[in-house]
């Protein structure tokens, strides 16, 4: 695990007497892509805004690159870039004009960088077209281009693939993965497109009604969402004996409710059911189970125990 880039300590935000964030404590490590998952109004954008400095926490604190005082955090923000809620672009300027404006603001002398970044996000050839005439996808790309201009160490993106066509989604995914691998960039990304997020991120932060429900790595998620055969029967002990003696497997778990999770023979359900049936076991339940990220998220925020 790399250096800690961001650490929040019980961040709480109350807006118009309504709690928006409640005791949010998360930690982001260098070179990883974090997917921030939550429903609309869960507090994703608020958390990103607080980190970026455009909103303030009511209680709690956070460290950015190991610095925690307001003045130090403000200085450390030079190392981050973000695109929150919608791409903040100047509609009356071209893509290149927008990048020039941000290059001046950040004091970057390299003019060639504008063309390089436009190429990186696939916006070459927009020439004199003003940003107000761009499609939503093109605006998203320009927003990402602006964020990448400074080669940030922490990139915060709120719904970056919103409005992109399928090819654009793949391109942005590949770009983010490459930035993470090649430049050790840490990325915090929120999206409602969970299947897409699953392909992009290395870690997940699940937020619901302002509270962090879970922070986990993709490996942990895969483990939680692992596919298995769920076996319910009248005689679990006998069933275990059949699995060990006949099917020669120990890759199973007996759950507290006496159902069995079998992680082998996922492609050969017939073999398992035949073996159990031939050994006189009466099945009450026999099905292939396992979650996608989407199901896992829904189960988690639904308050039910994940199975």
């Amino acid at each position: 695990m790399g250096e800690t880039i961001l650490k929040t300590n019980q961040l709480t935000k109350i807006y118009k007497k309504q709690p928006v964030l409640h005791d949010v404590s998360i930690e982001l490590k260098e070179g990883r892509i974090y997917g921030l998952i939550g429903e609309n109004g869960a507090g994703k954008s608020t958390l990103m805004k607080i980190i970026s400095g455009i909103s303030f926490q009511t209680e709690g604190s956070f460290e950015l690159f190991g610095k925690s005082s307001d003045k130090e955090i403000q200085q450390q923000r030079k190392r981050i870039a973000s695109m929150i809620e919608q791409p903040a672009i100047s509609p009356d300027m071209t893509a290149k004009g927008n990048l020039k404006y941000h290059r001046y603001m950040r004091g970057i002398p390299n003019e060639e960088l504008e063309d390089e970044i436009l190429q990186l996000v696939g916006l070459t050839g927009t020439n004199n077209k003003k940003a107000k005439h761009f499609s939503l996808g093109m605006k998203q790309r320009l927003g990402i281009a602006i964020a990448l201009l400074t080669n940030p160490e922490l990139l915060i993106l709120d719904e970056p693939v919103n409005g992109l066509d399928p090819q654009g989604v793949v391109e942005i995914r590949q770009l983010l993965t490459r930035l993470c691998e090649e430049r050790q960039m840490t990325i915090l990304i929120s999206s409602h497109n969970l299947p897409e997020l699953y392909l992009t991120t290395t870690d997940y932060i699940i937020i619901h009604k302002g509270k962090i429900m879970k922070q986990m790595t993709q490996q942990q998620l895969d483990e939680e969402c692992r596919h298995y055969i769920r076996i319910g029967c009248t005689a679990p002990e006998q069933c275990v004996h059949v699995l060990e003696a006949v099917l020669k497997t120990q890759n199973f778990q007996v759950m507290p409710n006496k159902t069995i999770k079998l992680y082998d023979f996922l492609e050969d359900l017939g073999d398992v059911s035949t073996a159990l049936f031939e050994n006189g076991i009466t099945l009450t339940e026999f099905s292939l189970q396992g979650d996608t990220l989407e199901n896992y998220f829904l189960t988690l925020i639904g308050g039910e125990q994940h199975v």
């Binding site: 970026s52 455009i54 100047s90 404006y101 603001m105 004091g107 602006i146």
Partner: protein, 260 residues
């Protein structure tokens, strides 16, 4: 902060609105000059002086200055561009000061047509008049009878300073109200109010005392070469103090403000 000033200058001068405003002040300055010249030489009926006054710097800068503030500040709230300098690590006071510097620089450009026609008028051996209506550079043009080059420069710099101070309130309005329409309406109403109040200033001692500490005082909007050095210094000092107070108030409202 230099980077911010440069970026804001670049963005605002790329905006069509700025060039439309400059065209507007240029045309109005030429029209005001022509009418004042015509009335002064009795080649135009004095009845037209109301139109001439309408096109004068005093009226035009109220509208143009407010619109410029919306282009420079409110548009950043509309497009969320205000996020960028904050995320880039600039302090909010730096953002306000940079905006103010760019605002003043661009106001100088916008008021320059009036400065130019006033210089041309003062260098001509002609009489200018706008009937009983005169304020701002128009008052310098119509009320100045004789003076040295140094005196002309001094009163024009002072007049420009008065405008910058008066219009600095638009920065506060833009950061507080954030919506273009509200800022233009609020400042125009304020300028109308101060204009009316200024005309009764001498009748009410309290009002006189209050306004004399602001750049909206009638003494400052009718500057001419007859003013003493002490009055000029007093005008400049009040303008500087007023600017500092307004910028401080802007900072106090914006320093912990939520940005949507």
């Amino acid at each position: 902060m230099f980077n911010l000033v440069r970026a804001y200058l670049y963005k605002t001068t790329k905006s069509k609105i700025f060039w439309v405003l400059l065209a507007l002040t240029t045309c109005s300055a030429i029209a005001m000059f022509s009418i004042a010249y015509g009335i002064g030489n009795k080649s135009i009926n004095e009845n037209i002086s109301n139109i001439g006054f309408l096109l004068s710097d005093m009226n035009m800068m109220s509208i143009v200055g407010a619109v410029l503030a919306t282009t420079l500040i409110c548009s950043d709230f509309d497009t969320k561009n205000i996020h960028h300098p904050i995320i880039s690590g600039f302090a909010r006071i730096q953002i306000i000061i940079s905006k103010a510097i760019v605002y003043w620089l661009l106001l100088l450009v916008l008021v320059s047509p009036y400065i130019i026609v006033t210089i041309i008028g003062l260098s001509m051996d002609s009489t200018f008049s706008m009937g009983r209506n005169a304020a701002g550079f128009l008052s310098i043009l119509t009320l100045t009878t004789s003076g040295s080059f140094g005196e002309y420069v001094t009163i024009m710099i002072t007049m420009t300073m008065v405008y910058l101070a008066q219009l600095t309130i638009c920065i506060l309005l833009a950061f507080v109200l954030r919506k273009s329409v509200l800022v233009v309406a609020a400042y125009y109403m304020m300028s109308m109010f101060f204009g009316q109040v200024a005309s009764f200033q001498n009748s009410f001692e309290i009002m006189n005392n209050i306004l004399s500490f602001t750049p909206y005082s009638v003494e400052f909007i009718t500057i001419n070469v007859s003013m003493s050095k002490g009055d000029i210094i007093s005008a400049v000092s009040i303008c500087v103090i007023f600017i500092i107070v307004v910028l401080y108030l802007t900072f106090m409202t914006f320093r912990k403000a939520e940005i949507r």
